[in-house]
C-alpha cells in the first residue's frame, strides 16, 4: 500500500471522488469531515458541514472501506474565517472566506491532524493541480479553483494531492457513477458560503456585531463629486461593481465604485469610474520564488475573471503594486489578487485598493 493520505471530505461529489480515486490508486486513505460551525437547530441541507453532508461523507467512506472521522475545527474556523469575514464587511470590504479556510483551516489546521496520523499527504476535491511543488490551474478552466488557493504555505504544495484537478466536472460525475457513489454523484454543487444561512451574509454580521452595527445602519449614497443621492440600509449589503439596490434616475447605468465606512457612504458612479489601471495588494504569499519589480505576469482580481496582463511596479514587504496593461473593472478591496504565469500560480494577496493612475503613486 502507498503512503497514507488524509482526505478532506465535504460530502460533495468532488471530494468523494477524490477519495475514491486515491483508494483506486492504492493510497491508504483516511477520510475526514471538518465540522466548522454549528447552526442552532438543523437547517435544511447546507452544501457542506451540515449533518447530512457529514453523513454523506461517512457513507462514501463506508462504501470505500476506509475510516472516516469528523474533526471539530469550529473554534479555529470561527476565529480565522468567520470573525475575519465579519470584520472585513464591517470595514467596507468584500471578503472571500474560502481563501482563508483553505489557508488556515484546510491546509494548516487539518495538516496538523494529518501529521498526527502519520499521513504523508493531504487531499481535497479542488479543481487545481500540483506539479513538482508548484500549484497549477485545474485542467477544466470552467471549474478552476486555483484562485482560492494562493494563501497556502508553499511547503504544503509538495504534500497536496488534488486528484480531480486533472479532469472535468462531468468526468468527476462519471467516475462517481462508475464507482457506485450514487449518494453523491448528482448532488447539486454548492455555490453559497457554507456558514452563511440562506445566502444572506448580513445575518451573520448582525449576529456578531448587533443590530446597530454601522455596517448595517442607514447611510448615504453619494456621487464621486460628493453630492448625496439617496440612502441605503447598510454598506455591508454592497460590493464594488454592484448595480442592484442603487437609486435610479440616472442617464447611464450606475455602479458601486467605492465603500467608505467612516461616513457609511456607498459611492456610486458610471462604469468609467469603476475602471482601475493598477492594483495594490497586501499579505502577499508567494508559491514560487518571488518575482521582482518589472516582472510581467497575468493577474486575476476575481474568481472566473479573464486573466489580465500586468507588471509589478512596487514591492514593499508583503505589499505589492501592479500596473495593468488594460483597465480592469471593479477591483474590489478584500477580494484576492492572484498572479499567474499561464497555468502556474505564482502567488496572491488581498486587494487593498485599485488605482486609477497607471503609474505608482510614490510616497512623498
Amino acid at each position: 500500500m502507498k503512503e497514507r493520505v488524509l482526505v478532506a471530505m465535504s460530502g460533495g461529489v468532488d471530494s468523494s471522488v477524490a477519495a475514491a480515486m486515491l483508494v483506486e490508486q492504492g493510497y491508504d486513505v483516511v477520510g475526514a469531515t471538518m465540522k466548522l460551525f454549528c447552526h442552532e437547530g438543523d437547517l435544511p441541507d447546507r452544501p457542506c458541514c451540515s449533518l447530512d453532508s457529514v453523513n454523506d461523507a461517512r457513507r462514501v467512506c463506508q462504501s470505500l472501506g476506509v475510516p472516516h472521522y469528523v474533526l471539530n475545527l469550529e473554534s479555529a474556523f470561527g476565529r480565522d474565517v468567520v470573525d475575519d469575514f465579519v470584520q472585513e464587511y464591517a470595514s467596507g470590504r468584500t471578503p472571500i472566506p474560502c481563501v482563508r479556510c483553505n489557508t488556515f483551516t484546510k491546509f494548516r489546521d487539518l495538516l496538523v491532524k494529518a501529521d498526527a496520523i502519520d499521513a504523508t499527504w493531504i487531499a481535497t476535491g479542488h479543481y487545481a493541480r500540483t506539479i513538482d511543488g508548484e500549484l497549477r490551474r485545474g485542467l477544466d478552466r470552467t471549474k478552476d479553483q486555483s484562485y482560492f488557493l494562493w494563501g497556502i504555505d508553499r511547503s504544503v504544495l509538495r504534500r497536496m494531492l488534488l486528484p480531480v484537478g486533472a479532469q472535468t466536472k462531468l468526468e468527476t460525475r462519471t467516475v462517481a457513477h462508475r464507482l457506485g457513489l450514487e449518494v453523491i454523484a448528482e448532488k447539486v454543487e454548492s455555490q453559497d458560503i457554507c456558514f452563511v444561512p440562506d445566502g444572506d451574509h448580513t445575518k451573520i454580521i448582525r449576529q456578531r456585531l448587533g443590530d446597530d452595527a454601522p455596517a448595517l445602519s442607514r447611510g448615504p449614497f453619494v456621487l464621486s463629486n460628493g453630492s448625496t443621492v439617496g440612502t441605503h440600509d447598510g454598506f455591508a449589503r454592497f460590493t464594488i461593481g454592484q448595480r442592484r439596490g442603487l437609486p435610479g434616475g440616472f442617464r447611464e447605468p450606475m455602479f458601486v465604485v467605492d465603500i467608505r465606512p467612516r461616513d457609511r457612504a456607498v459611492v456610486i458612479g458610471p462604469r468609467e469610474e469603476l475602471l482601475g489601471r493598477g492594483v495594490v495588494a497586501r499579505a502577499i504569499n508567494w508559491l514560487v520564488d518571488a518575482p521582482g519589480v518589472g516582472s510581467r505576469l497575468s493577474i486575476q482580481i476575481r474568481h472566473r475573471a479573464a486573466p489580465a496582463r500586468a507588471e509589478i511596479v512596487r514591492v514593499d514587504g508583503d505589499e505589492i503594486e501592479l500596473a495593468l496593461d488594460e483597465p480592469v473593472a471593479a477591483i474590489t478591496p478584500g477580494q484576492s489578487l492572484v498572479m499567474y504565469d499561464g497555468d502556474r500560480v505564482l502567488g496572491g494577496g488581498l486587494i487593498e485598493r485599485g488605482t486609477r493612475a497607471s503609474l505608482p503613486i510614490l510616497a512623498a
Binding site: 483516511v30 461517512r58 472521522y69 474533526l71 471539530n72 491532524k113 498526527a116 496520523i117
Partner: protein, 388 residues
C-alpha cells in the same frame, strides 16, 4: 497491525454468549406478544414476568418497581421529566442535579427548565465529586426531584449517593440516580439506599443495546412519557422487547455473580495502565485520581500538548479504540462538560482520552496500549515519528 484492542467498555460492551443464547428462542418459536391472551402470549408473558423478577432481584427491588425501557437515556428521561411533571403541580417546581451528569440527565433537566422548571446544578470538586454542602443548599421545600449519577461515565468517580439520597429525602424531594455505569460494578440495593428512582442499562453489562430499566419505588408517582397502551402499568406503553428483557436479566445475573472478582481484575488492570502511562508521561493528568472512591474500569487522562481528536484518530488507526468527551450528533468531539465543571483548563480538557476497561481487557492489551499511547504522546510533542 496487531489485533485491535477495545478499550471503550463504558460506551458499550459485546453481548455475552450466554445472553445471546438466552434470547434466541424469543427471536424464534417463542415470539409471542406478552399482552395476547393465547398460548403464545402467555408464554411470552411468563418470560417477561420472569425477566422482571430477576432484574428486580439484582437490584433488591420488587418486580412491580421495575419498568423496562429502551435504555439508560429513556430511563433518565422518565425519571426526571416523569417525576417533575407530577410534582410541579404540588408546589415543587425545582430540579437539583449536577453539572457532571450524563447528557441524558442534563438534557432532561434542561427540557424541564424549558417547560418552566427551576434548574439548579450544584458544585463539584476538582476531583469530580459532588459537593454535598452545595447540594444540600440547593435542596429546598420546592424541590421536586434531585438527580445525581452513581458513577461518572467519563472519569469514573463514585458519588456519595447514600448521603445525597438522605439529604434529598430530608427535604421531601425525590432522589434519582443514574446507575448506568454503576450497575454490575457496585452493589445496588434498593433496600439499603433510599433512592426513589434509578436508571440502569443493558448494553454496558453484556446485554444488547436497546434495553434498560428504570426502578420506580412503590408509591412514587411518575407521569409516563409515552401514551397509548397499558403495558408496564401504563408507565411505559408499547409492546415489550421480550427477548431483550431476557437478555438483560441474564446479563445482570452474570455481572452480579462475577462482580467482586471482575472489580478486582479491572482495578488491577486499570492501575497497571495508569502507572505505566504516568511512568512514561509523568506530566499526564489522571482526572479523578485521588477521589475517595473510583470505579475500577475508567481511566481518563490528559497530556498537555496533545489533543483528543488527533490522539483518538492515531490510536484508532493503530487498532486501539478509546473515546473522549461527548460526541455531538455529527460525531465530532467537543470538550467535556464534566472536565469543565471540575475546573480543568480548556487546554487539558481538549486533550482528554477516556480508556474504559471490561471483559475484553487483558494484561497484554493494557501493556500495548500504554506503549502506543506514550509513543503517540512523544510524537505529538515533536519527538521522532512512531514506527508502525
Amino acid at each position: 497491525m496487531s489485533a485491535p484492542i477495545y478499550l471503550d467498555h463504558a460506551a458499550t460492551t459485546p453481548v455475552r454468549p450466554e445472553v445471546l443464547e438466552a434470547m434466541l428462542p424469543f427471536f424464534g418459536p417463542r415470539f409471542g406478544n406478552p399482552s395476547s391472551m393465547h398460548r403464545w402470549g402467555r408464554d411470552a408473558r411468563t418470560a417477561l414476568d420472569e425477566a422482571r423478577e430477576r432484574v428486580a432481584r439484582c437490584l433488591g427491588a420488587n418486580p412491580d418497581e421495575i419498568c423496562f425501557t429502551s435504555g439508560g437515556t429513556e430511563a433518565d428521561n422518565i425519571a426526571i421529566l416523569g417525576a417533575w411533571r407530577v410534582r410541579r403541580h404540588e408546589g415543587r417546581n425545582a430540579i437539583v442535579s449536577t453539572p457532571i451528569e450524563h447528557k441524558a440527565v442534563l438534557g432532561a433537566v434542561h427540557q424541564a427548565a424549558h417547560e418552566g422548571a427551576d434548574e439548579r446544578l450544584c458544585d463539584v470538586s476538582k476531583l469530580g465529586v459532588v459537593d454535598c454542602d452545595s447540594f444540600a443548599t440547593l435542596l429546598r421545600d420546592d424541590t421536586a426531584i434531585a438527580s445525581v449519577m452513581w458513577i461518572n461515565n467519563e472519569i469514573g468517580t463514585v458519588q456519595p449517593v447514600a448521603e445525597l439520597a438522605q439529604l434529598a429525602k430530608a427535604k421531601g424531594a425525590l432522589f434519582h440516580t443514574d446507575g448506568v455505569q454503576a450497575f454490575g460494578k457496585i452493589p445496588i440495593d434498593a433496600k439499603a439506599i433510599p433512592f426513589d428512582v434509578l436508571s440502569v442499562s443493558g448494553h454496558k453489562i453484556g446485554a444488547p443495546k436497546g434495553i434498560g430499566a428504570v426502578f420506580i419505588r412503590r408509591g412514587t408517582m411518575i407521569e409516563p412519557l409515552f401514551h397509548g397502551g397499558t403495558q408496564d402499568r401504563g408507565r411505559r406503553p408499547g409492546t415489550e422487547n421480550v427477548a431483550a428483557t431476557i437478555g438483560f436479566a441474564r446479563a445482570a445475573e452474570l455481572a452480579l455473580a462475577e462482580r467482586e472478582e471482575e472489580w478486582n481484575r479491572l482495578e488491577r488492570l486499570r492501575n497497571r495502565l495508569e502507572e505505566a502511562i504516568l511512568a512514561r508521561v509523568p506530566d499526564a493528568t489522571v482526572h479523578g485520581r485521588g477521589a475517595p472512591q473510583r470505579a475500577p474500569h475508567i481511566l481518563n487522562v490528559s497530556v498537555p500538548g496533545t489533543d483528543s481528536e488527533s490522539m483518538l484518530m492515531a490510536l484508532d488507526l493503530r487498532g486501539i479504540a478509546c473515546s473522549a468527551g461527548s460526541a455531538c450528533q455529527s460525531g465530532s468531539i467537543s470538550p467535556s462538560h464534566v472536565l469543565s465543571a471540575m475546573g480543568v483548563s480548556p487546554e487539558l480538557a481538549s486533550a482528554a482520552i477516556r480508556m474504559s476497561l471490561g471483559s475484553l481487557s487483558t494484561d497484554a492489551s493494557i501493556d500495548r496500549v500504554a506503549e502506543v499511547f506514550s509513543a503517540l504522546v512523544a510524537k505529538a510533542r515533536g519527538a521522532a515519528p512512531v514506527a508502525s
